[in-house]
Symmetry: D2
Subunit: 306 residues, 4 copies
């Protein structure tokens, strides 16, 4: 039986070494280390790599980790919430501000600031977002899929660090299963009152199922649950395959029965994840665990000369 | 300054009395009591009543609380996840089974059971679901809104206790902002390969914004966060109004910055909830807090002769 | 296989019926219902009944539920945190106030109010507490156990609704394994500077182990984890027995490896709980789940004519 | 207003740089970065440094981080749970094993293994622990404080990486406010049946209050809440001072009103922490956040040539 090896802190140690050392510890430390090992395997191997992103990751500063992964060819399919895309677009010309979670929300309203926990958005950035959206939303007779719409938006964003632009440049399909549930949805509706714009709600289903059908081995990194998690997992149901590697970073726990906290083992009973798959869930705030996972795995890849 | 009054347990006391008594306590007890008071006010008054439902509430046994509220005219707008609708449809002819959360998921897979925490679904019920769906999904040239599609589905379900059927009977619009992210989405796509079916992804935005525009005073009961929460709240952004009463039942806490755990106060900074609104968040499993809230509030209404 | 029966809300239904109905549901509802069944069995049967209480239950209004259980002969051994005893003593002459969790803590400090989430304590009540303590703390050559000290304190409290007084009146031993970690500890130390007072830190171990040795069948209701949970469970280790029934109400989940969220199954591996025991953990705020559990179980006992 | 700077992952970046970069992000990332800044200030400056440790940190592999901090003169007062001390003693001659959290606990019981989430302890290590304890527990007429007892135990442990031994070597007082609530308590009671051993439950109160009185500026790192948190904080109440710097690593959140999740701001209302103090709570598993905090802060100290 393997024994717990007490974690060593050494001067100048790398993130990769620290997280590797956690693999001989218990609790969350071990899970994070397992996640890094699985992620290294996923990035090195011949896997179709899915990344799903939920939670306000872009407002919280995780945007360039995601676009960096895309540009580094570490993402083949991105499934994301509309809100993260809205904030990605805003970052391409504007900014998010560091605020306080204990603010007076009525006062913020007066000042024209909208709060996301301890991050603020200014009304002027929303106004500029609307203007940009009305400019880059397409005017076309063709019925589009959500993915096609997002690709068009990506090509209209002039910022190489943008998630949408990076995905467009690298030919990575972006799916947003709850597109109407975002400011993109509100803008698309306003746009469609004077222009031609129709998005077929179910067209994306076909596109992602086709990808699932085509892929041999596949891996998934799930950041934060939500509709992106389910949409990616359920797409495997219509294919003869299932995910071979899976990592989940979440703050939800299984006990409440919700999907965001559901174990990856549960997904095995559905056939979404292979019963032979390596999989692990890291419980905790993804603004801490995602940077550790990515920085550690990339250091690991380099060491191996990949 | 009001003082804590130690909670009294009395023989034969009603749910309403117990929860009323919690109003003089601290922590979650006080919040639950405030929620019941706000809900009573909402149900008694002239409010447009929104209900949003996320989390696997139907598999967990909360289906008839929801359809009961609809038939009791306590819901004017329902926003819900696709998964809950799938399970509502399955309950109309099949069932969910009581299982164990500590099951062997690979074995369940073999047995044809899919697990949702401690509830199982049998493959035969999914097969019957598919058959029913292919029968009741419309075949029409008309481009539909999601709400129209769901109304059609509701009219095809032969079960008065069904959420979709109840909403159809009572003329309550049902919105599902992530419709493709569910088995309804998968079925709709399969259906559309041989039949005519197009749902406009953004048509629902117009419909719900129109409702928000039209309503005078409004209240919202949010069960479980997710896209239903955001979709309902953001719809107020395009109207001159905001919610006057708001209750949230959630297992998420604010610290991680995600929307499902965001305070209702945060929504005040966005203008989604009025700064004068009465609002409260009850932290905890909605399979416990929702029945208490509803049973307590309905007992309260009766007492008042409403 | 048993199926999920959708929960019914009926006018005037009792707490016992509601919670009974939850037994055919999933998630937290089912666990709460199982807990009520186990608690009814414990209260009806010939079990030595342990109750452990952690978390600020007395400031939050749960004091008379606890003292009521003691006076109703539903508790044979109480293990509790020092803080709850301090607040029990304060309630015997003073009060706790309903405040807001979003208060300005520096301002509260100025006003002489100490905050426990949304409950306040006034400096004058602490002053009266100190005065009372200096009066009722014993002055004796005898080396006392913690239990003996708490009995002496209980006999000095002139309030039948007090936990300590009720335990004294009903001859229920009270253990507080972290006695120095409370204002009682601070007061005892001050007292001992001018009077004779020595409490043997380990004497309680003998006393509770003797109880564990003597009992035939035993059950435990654990409210909130902490040292009371562990102290009661570990006491079984030195006896040939283990708990036959166990209920835990906690907000902690197992994933972080801490004792407060540890599953009761984990305690089986230690031999603290019998492998044949019926046991269940209810996740959630005990200010909600404890009143439900107790009110429901007492209604159940009455129905049975017990 | 400061803006969110999207976090950069760079090849070979240090832990210190990564966490520094998190300071311009939102949510948990920002809190972790603030914690590292406060900890660097604490370690550099002339502060009396308190460390409190709760949760099964030693079984999970954090033992040498703690003893390393002690030997590096970064701890002046240690307050810790009995369980962590028991496991520290066991590690001095035995080991903890890496197991699975999904084990069959009745089978583990048969095999002589006790489980702490995903870590196992073997019966033979407990047996050796008992033997060692009976050997090193003192036999003395003198009434001891808990601190004195723990110092004696520390001097009897032949392992420089031990927390207790390191504290003994470095003259760091160790307080365990719930000493009876551990295997040390059980062993001490057994020992006292044949030998002379009396520990005065309240003697530690005097010792730690004296330290609080004597210190000028003070800082506290709270790992995991529990009695260690409260005992250290309450000790300031009897002194004219309060903590000037405070960091808390916890998985509990404030909403349930328990002390382990209580905000540090709440402690300001009590006068335990100064209203001018810099303080921050990092929510999450301390087996991840503690190594990051310590490794990052120590790298920061080195860079500064401290």
């Amino acid at each position: 039986m393997e024994i717990v090896q007490q974690l060593q802190i050494e001067p100048g140690m790398s993130i990769n070494s620290l997280v590797k050392g956690m693999g001989h510890c218990g609790f969350g430390a071990r899970r994070l280390s397992q996640a890094m090992n699985i992620y290294e395997e996923m990035l090195k191997g011949d896997f179709t790599k899915f990344l799903t992103v939920s939670g306000a990751m872009v407002p919280a500063g995780m945007r360039e980790i995601i676009s960096g992964l895309i540009r580094g060819r570490h993402v083949d399919v991105l499934v994301v919430t509309g809100a993260n895309l809205v904030h990605d677009i805003i970052e391409s010309f504007g900014c998010h501000c560091l605020g306080s979670a204990e603010s007076d929300d009525a006062a913020l309203r007066e000042e024209g600031k909208s709060r996301i926990y301890d991050v603020f958005l200014r009304d002027e950035d929303f106004a500029a977002f609307e203007e940009l959206m009305q400019r880059i939303l397409p005017d076309t007779e063709k019925v589009l899929s959500g993915r096609e719409l997002l690709r068009t938006l990506g090509s209209g964003i002039d910022d190489p660090r943008s998630i949408l632009r990076s995905a467009c440049d690298m030919n990575v399909p972006v799916f947003c299963p709850a597109l109407p549930d975002s400011m993109i949805g509100l803008q698309a509706w306003m746009h469609s009152q004077t222009k031609k714009l129709t998005v077929d709600a179910f067209a994306d289903v076909k596109e992602i199922v086709d990808i699932c059908y085509a892929c041999q081995r596949s891996g998934i990194l799930i950041v934060g649950g939500g509709t992106p998690k389910n949409f990616a997992l359920q797409s495997m149901l219509l294919s003869p395959r299932s995910f071979d590697l899976a990592i989940q970073l979440t703050t939800d726990t299984p006990e409440n029965g919700g999907l965001s906290g559901a174990t990856l083992s549960e997904a095995v009973s559905w056939g979404k994840i292979s019963e032979k798959a390596r999989h692990v869930t890291v419980y905790g705030d993804a603004t801490i665990t995602l940077p550790l996972l990515v920085a550690g795995a990339l250091q690991g890849l380099e060491k191996d000369g990949s």
